[in-house]
């Protein structure tokens, strides 16, 4: 019997240690198929979090789980599928990545922050995907809250996804 090590908050002082230059750049912005996912992280008073850390992990365009090395030092060629971005002073984050393949594309998202004693776990789905209607995870979410899991298309290659930690429009978080 092994006893799980409990979580503790990432705290306020990770900024010089965890974020790295190409963290948000899962693929370079000039990649012909690059999409941009960006948004804000907000607390229960609607205030932006300037000290949150977001991580995405996702399937590649072929729908497969990436097995390539290169999430820390991007080589601009292999798709490593992992991205990390700290929010800026306005609570904003961004990623440049590829849209995952498969019937219901989504990005797994973890958010860490001071005041979060453990991360929140959620998914970023894409709008206008026929697969969303039949997706077992989305379908398991109360209908009035499903929108919180679906990014908003801004233009063809840009999507907005806000994370609301608490309150009326609180993002759906998963227990897994």
């Amino acid at each position: 019997m092994n006893e799980t090590t409990p979580s503790q908050t990432v705290g306020p002082f990770f900024g010089y240690a965890l974020p790295y230059g190409d963290g948000p750049r899962v693929v370079p912005e000039w990649h012909p198929d690059a999409i941009r996912i960006h948004g804000g992280v907000f607390d229960g008073a609607g205030e932006p979090l300037p000290d949150a850390l977001l991580e995405i992990w996702q399937a590649g365009p072929d729908g497969e789980v990436p097995r390539a090395v290169g999430a820390l030092t991007r080589d601009g060629h292999d798709f490593a599928g992992f991205g990390r971005c700290g929010t800026d002073a306005a609570g904003h984050y961004w990623f440049s990545t590829l849209k995952p393949g498969g019937p219901t594309p989504y990005l797994a998202l973890l958010v860490f922050a001071r005041g979060l004693l453990k991360p929140v776990i959620t998914r970023i789905y894409f709008p206008d995907e026929p697969g969303n209607a039949g997706d077992p995870v989305l379908s398991g979410v109360p209908p009035e809250r499903r929108d919180t899991l679906v990014a908003v298309r801004e233009h063809d290659r840009s999507y907005r996804f806000d994370v609301r930690l608490q309150g009326e429009q609180e993002t759906v978080f998963f227990a897994v």
Binding site: T4, P6, F13, V65, L117, K118, I121, P136, F174
Partner: protein
């Protein structure tokens, strides 16, 4: 097995009331899928030579008590997790972070950044050489001080079991006053965050050694 993790809402830690989710978490209908049950792959070529030795990242040696911190990353059934990324960050010996927002009026050390990383070996073992971090004050409540700690980030085999936590040192008199350490109610569970002084890890006439194993949470079966 009961949930070892602290709750989101722990009012004595004053950053939690506005940041803790207030709605119940949703258990995904068919459990996590292949993406969530896997984790990114990291390679040795991505790391620098001195990433795991925080005392050799600058021209001179940092001030403070040199220590070795090592242990194994294990999955929930006790199997070592090899080749997984472990990242650490910490205050210097004076209790000061290099982070721009740290306003504690204690000296910075030009020879200490306080950030390191390594990949676990075939036995799941990580090892860092560093200096013992100092306790530091924070503004959570009047006269609030954090016990000395090293922040750890561990990937493991499943993204949803990814762990960010803090390692403490044995016998710290500040434990009783810290609402972050105290966010875990069960004394036995708290102890899992405390490293152990180990004379076999200690290198005579050079550095004290501390052992601390990290056990990741169970991965739910795909069909559960």
């Amino acid at each position: 097995m009961s949930d070892p993790h602290p709750p989101y809402l722990h009012p004595p830690y004053q950053s939690t009331p506005l940041r803790a989710p207030s709605r119940p978490l949703i258990v995904p209908a068919y459990g996590p899928d292949a993406v969530e049950l896997s984790s990114p792959v990291f390679g040795h070529s991505e790391l620098g030579t001195f990433d795991n030795d925080l005392t050799r990242q600058h021209r001179g040696e940092p001030l403070g008590e040199r220590i070795i911190v090592t242990g194994r990353v294990l999955d929930s059934s006790g199997r070592p997790v090899p080749n997984t990324l472990v990242e650490v960050w910490q205050a210097n010996a004076s209790g000061r972070y290099i982070h721009a927002r740290d306003q504690h009026p204690a000296p910075l050390d030009p020879n200490f950044t306080g950030a390191g990383r390594c990949l676990t070996d075939a036995d799941g073992r990580y090892r860092f050489v560093t200096i013992k971090p100092g306790a530091y004050p924070w503004r959570n409540h009047h006269n609030a001080w954090r016990p000395a700690h090293i922040h750890f980030s561990v990937f493991g085999t499943a993204f949803t079991q990814r762990l960010v936590t803090q390692m403490y040192f044995p016998g710290d008199p500040l434990f009783a006053y810290d609402p972050i350490f105290g966010s875990i109610a069960d004394e036995k569970v708290k102890e899992r965050l405390i490293s152990r002084l180990d004379m076999d890890t200690t290198v005579p006439e050079w550095a004290l050694g501390y052992q601390w194993d990290i056990v990741l949470g169970a991965i739910p079966a795909e069909d559960s």
